[in-house]
Symmetry: C2
């Protein structure tokens, strides 16, 4: 397949670097300042240019959106509300009957019904495995079992919050202390708000709920429909109290056809949900096959790029 | 899709019962005595007949193999060596350009290169998710990441052996005692040899190794290539010694492009591999996405049928 990649952050760059190994050509890569095109694109040269000058190239975004790709990989940062520019980029590709693979959560969390409507009008397909749980095949597992036969999905969907909670519990250190440490380690971003306040986990929960609801003929949800609490005010004493009882605290997202809830929850200390560090876990409750547990790296450039490229691999040829 | 199901044990019956919910028609079901055909087949009536008379119907197997199905579901018992009758049933369908979905491990564990050769000659496709880890999407995850980018797969692939080991460790009871208990509960079969001697786990390991080897241009393996040890001679003292050190024992299968090893291994007591009861777990080591852990019900009629029907759902239309 010929890929055009919008977004040259960790995920976009990794997709560009790993595409060849998966048998695909990159014909364009865009960052926030412009784009680089080629047939195929010289990816190492474009990334070198970006690290030297801050820009992958001097072509226009519109040239990239109009180029001869089979698949548009949308990897710009997730935005709330109108989900732009990701939403318009995805729709532009679908309008041209091209496939779209999202790493950007916005279009499927905030405007699911609209992006699905655009997909129905298109000969292209839409995939978004990378938006939930990084490398973990969460969306595909739900799709393969059939969303109408999946009753509920629950899990740890934010690695930063999980790292903070794991360290607080293991070391008896305060939230502020551990968060500062996580920022030094590069595990938490300079502004970790969406990770620790539950927004990021809630967006992933909304995406899963939308898949479950679509199969049942229900309208899609958006972030504003989710019930969300974060971990910013969790005292370390709550973790030691939990520990005395063989439990610990995790930021758990729950998605069902009825809705989405995210918040700190008590879970058994050595139980399946108590993954440690930046790991994520997804529990899928099925009607006929019981509960499936899927865990692994929930973020990271190559990990998320692997999910994007798995999606590409499952697209029908054009 | 129109399904013909060969084998009316727990898995074949569950596929027949759940097919309609997945949007498929059953047009034939065979047991060891004969077959029932219909367009579509009245599944409840055929299963009722089987429970009353011991036979699903009085049609011939050959009528079923020659019927107008899109997909042959091969769910006869796994046999070693020539893998018959599963192998010939599958080849008969491929020769007619029909898809084949295996629940029977034999054809892909014992005669992988031959069944792959028959698939290459066919317009039909071959899938076999249900042969490894029941409901756990092990084969699909390897395929989606790309078998050439999967370095190793390790896990607990036999629920009976895992039940026995979990109970021995938890209760300090002997192997013979726990096995008898498992037989009473229906967790172990009357003849549990292949479960406790490692054969069943090794067959699953060989199947995974064959997928990894095919991607690297290596010849397939069979059971005789695997290094296999079972749990029959494991003294309960070994489990208590392990427990004193925070560890326990699990029957672990390891598959890599180099080969397959199965045997009892020490694992951390609260670690990811130490699933309890009849649970299975599969760890997939990927080149770019780290380690994925997939756990769930590794056996059972509806669980395994769900994997079969997921495979059917991913087949291209005929």
């Amino acid at each position: 397949m010929r890929l055009a990649i919008v977004g040259a952050g960790a995920v976009g760059r990794s997709v560009a670097q790993l595409a060849g190994e998966h048998g695909h050509d990159v014909i364009g890569l865009a960052d926030s300042t412009g784009a680089a095109l080629g047939d195929p694109l010289d990816v190492p040269a474009a990334l070198e240019r970006k690290s030297e000058t801050g820009a992958v190239g001097d072509a226009d975004h519109d040239d990239l959106l109009g180029a001869a790709y089979d698949v548009l990989v949308e990897a710009t940062p997730t935005t709330l509300g109108d989900a732009e520019p990701g939403f318009s980029n995805a729709v532009a590709a679908l309008d041209r009957d091209r496939h779209v693979v999202l790493a950007n959560k916005g279009p499927v969390a905030e405007r699911y019904d609209e992006i699905r409507a655009a997909t129905r009008e298109s000969a292209g397909e839409l995939r978004f495995e990378a938006t939930v749980g990084g490398a973990i095949p969460a969306v595909r597992t739900v799709e393969d079992f059939g969303p109408s036969r999946v009753e509920r999905v629950r899990g740890v969907l934010n690695g930063t919050a999980n790292f903070v909670l794991s360290r607080m519990a293991a070391e008896g250190l305060s939230y502020d202390h551990v968060l500062a440490e996580a920022q030094e380690l590069g595990v938490a971003e300079a502004d970790p708000t969406f990770d620790v306040d539950g927004t990021d986990a809630a967006l992933k929960g909304v995406i899963v709920a939308n898949v479950l609801r679509e199969a049942r003929g229900e309208d899609a949800l958006s972030l504003s429909d989710a019930e969300v609490a974060g971990i910013e005010d969790l005292p370390v004493s709550a973790l030691s109290l939990a520990g005395d009882d063989g439990r610990t605290v995790r930021l758990i997202a729950e998605a069902s056809p009825e809705g989405v809830r995210v918040g700190p929850r008590l879970v058994p200390e050595n139980g399946t949900l108590a993954v440690t560090g930046t790991q994520n876990i997804v529990q899928v409750e099925t009607a006929h096959a019981g509960r499936l547990n899927l865990s692994g790296h929930g973020a990271g450039g190559p990990e998320t790029a692997s999910a994007v490229l798995s999606d590409v691999g499952r697209l029908p040829p054009r």
